[in-house]
């Protein structure tokens, strides 16, 4: 799955455990985002956990592997896309009469597909926060790499 170069990154034990758990961390983050209207968490907390899975990859294997998965340009574009998604969901409220109004069908409480536009907002926020944090980390790591080369 990922190239394990023994010079960059951390030791073999860390690399093995990372290979096993990174996918689970990503899945857990998506679960927290999707169930934001039923249990604690929501967009921001889930977004941070998604970002942490990429950061985990970056710390364990060195920055080249992480950059191959998400490069800086892709991160920046996805972030703007997430923000525009959130703004368009808020603008949808204008159809119902007022800014930010909850216009979709509210469904029955305590089910996954309920509460109108709230899960969609959670997904947009989760995307933006997750990709934004990955972009911040990429910038910090690339600055570090450039400085070490001097």
């Amino acid at each position: 799955m990922v190239v394990s170069n023994s010079k960059t990154g951390m030791s073999l034990i860390v690399k093995t455990i990372t290979r096993l758990t990174v996918g689970l961390i990503l899945l857990f983050g998506i679960y927290i985002i999707l169930h934001g209207h039923l249990s604690p968490g929501g967009g921001f907390a889930g977004g941070v956990i998604i970002a942490l899975s990429f950061v985990h990859l970056m710390l364990a294997f060195g920055k080249d592997v992480a950059v191959a998965k998400i490069s800086q340009n892709v991160a920046s574009n996805l972030e703007s896309l997430g923000a525009l998604m959130f703004l368009s969901i808020a603008l949808l409220g204008f159809l119902g009469g007022s800014f930010f109004l909850n216009v979709l069908n509210k469904g029955m409480p305590f089910r996954l597909f309920s509460a109108g536009t709230i899960p969609l907002s959670n997904i947009a926020i989760g995307l933006k926060v997750g990709v934004g944090l990955v972009a911040i980390f990429l910038v910090l790591v690339i600055l570090e790499g450039a400085e070490n080369k001097k």
Binding site: N77, S80, L84, L87, F94, G96, S98
Partner: protein, 504 residues
């Protein structure tokens, strides 16, 4: 009148949409589309603010309330457009439009223009949202949006000194925001509501004997740092010169006005209620700011640092006007707030034009630029005469009203301090004129040209507004200032007005 109220959230939607659209498409399209997009959004905002003021003037009620999400008022966030918000919106959007036009040419010297426009639009979102919201925590969120965008914009050139200035500004600004947050926490704990009108209503019925002065001091510290009042001014002389000139114009012209002065005045007059003690404190701090700013500006040779110190001094005038709490004083403060935004941003845009042409900001190195750059020299002359308070420019009228208000209330000492500050301001700007524009042209500047056309357009129109600014006191346009003054004078009556209209 539900349909007329719908323009109120547009003040936040348009710049936010513009910011993220520019960030998304900035890499793929040519440079000119980014310029056009930002110019069009700022122009839309300016026309919306004029249109909104018109609607407010023609409507039956003195305020327009918009409920976000349709939630009833004490439970949801509401956006309130009254006289004071209308005046602040007009000020912010006028300066923002001309600065964005100016940046089309000026920012060619820096790298990465789309990122600049994204941050600029985010700062504009924060400022517009702050003046139009009616909810205290929403005010804090928009304040943080504008502040974080400004920390990033001050460091935009990424030279060593700009990074140092931005770091200092960011640390001090964040500590101030924490103080504001603690104040909001105390107020929420006491009144259990976050709506500004509702807090005013609850505070009228159960006055907190030790809590209200404590919260007032916390807000004075927090918002005072954002406004650069004197004990909290130390970040301004480093941060404002380091930013690119168009951002210096925005920071000094509108950011310290909305984040600092508007929030301070809204909290003190409408929520906490102005009493004699707060009035004396504000007047004292205003007077010290006036004198300290001007005296420290006399020894500066860096043009933008000199202008930054003068910002501290003029903010002192505005706070002195508001601190008097009489109708004439508040009128003077509001008028000087509008005037200072116009002429201070014009001064910073001039210094940017000089920097664009000659590459220096040091007054001792430049001389005789008036021959080669006539538009810059003349607009600088107009702005200098406005800030020094020479008739018939707009600065004269606002300073006169403040001095008359001081004398009317019997504070001769403060009036004398204001006059001394004015004289020293005149001396300082005569120095700028002599060193920068008059005299012999130096050898190395023989080939400089005038500023490009967009920069000239922005500077000329702002200078025209400076010249015609005194007309705002005529009965045709006076309603702008009088409506804003009435909002502040009604004090805690703001609660009844807003809650009454929101309940319909």
């Amino acid at each position: 009148m539900n349909n007329a109220n719908n323009i109120i959230p547009l003040f936040v939607i348009i710049p936010l949409l513009g910011a993220f659209l520019i960030s998304l498409i900035g890499k793929f399209v040519k440079r000119i589309w980014v310029d056009i997009l930002s110019g069009v959004s700022c122009f839309l905002l300016l026309s919306l603010s004029i249109f909104g003021l018109n609607i407010l003037r023609n409507s039956a009620s003195p305020v327009l309330v918009y409920k976000v999400g349709g939630w009833a008022v004490p439970f949801g966030i509401c956006m309130v457009l009254d006289g004071l918000s209308g005046l602040m919106l007009l000020t912010v959007n006028i300066v923002a439009f001309f600065v964005s036009v100016y940046s089309i040419n000026y920012m060619e010297k820096y790298t990465d223009k789309p990122k600049f426009y994204t941050l600029f639009m985010l700062m504009l979102t924060g400022m517009n949202g702050l003046v139009i919201t009616g909810d205290l925590f929403n005010l804090f969120v928009f304040l943080e949006i504008a502040s974080i965008a400004s920390y990033a914009l001050v460091a935009f050139g990424t030279e060593a000194e700009e990074l140092e200035a931005s770091f200092k500004y960011a640390i001090m600004g964040s500590v101030a925001s924490s103080f504001i947050f603690v104040g909001i926490a105390f107020l929420y704990g006491f009144t259990s509501t976050l709506n500004m009108a509702d807090i005013a209503r609850v505070l009228s019925t159960k006055p907190g004997l030790w809590l209200t002065p404590f919260v007032a001091v916390l807000f004075l510290m927090g918002f005072g740092l954002k406004a650069a009042l004197v004990p909290f001014h130390a970040w301004l002389p480093d941060a404002h010169p380091s930013a690119p000139a168009s951002i210096s114009a925005m920071l000094s012209g509108v950011l310290i006005k909305t984040l600092g002065i508007y929030a301070l005045v809204r909290v003190f007059f409408n929520i906490i209620g102005m009493t004699g003690a707060y009035s004396s404190v504000l007047m004292f701090l205003g007077a010290i700011s006036m004198l300290v700013g001007v005296i420290l500006a006399l020894s500066q040779w860096d043009l933008k640092r000199l202008l930054a110190y003068h910002s501290i001094s003029q903010v002192g005038y505005i706070i002195l006007g508001f601190g008097l709490a009489t109708p004439l004083g508040i009128l003077g403060g509001l008028f000087h707030l509008f005037n200072h935004s116009i002429f201070k941003s014009l001064l910073f845009l001039n210094s940017g034009a000089i920097d664009y042409a000659t590459g220096t900001r040091n007054l001792q190195e430049m001389s005789g630029l008036g021959k080669k750059m006539p538009v810059t020299a003349n607009t600088n002359l107009i702005a200098s005469m406005s800030i020094a308070g020479i008739p018939p420019f707009n600065g004269f009228f606002s300073k006169l009203i403040i001095i008359l208000a001081c004398i009317e209330k019997g504070h001769i000492g403060y009036a004398l301090a204001a006059v001394i500050g004015s004289i020293l301001t005149l001396a300082s700007f005569m120095k700028v004129q002599k060193y920068a524009f008059l005299g012999e042209l130096k050898e190395k500047y023989r080939n400089i040209k005038e500023a490009p056309s967009m920069m000239k357009f922005a500077m000329i129109v702002l200078a025209v507004i400076c010249v015609l600014g005194g007309l705002m006191l005529l009965p045709g346009l006076k309603f702008l200032l009088i409506n804003a003054m009435d909002v502040l004078l009604q004090g805690r009556g703001y609660a009844d007005t807003v809650l009454g209209i929101a309940a319909k």
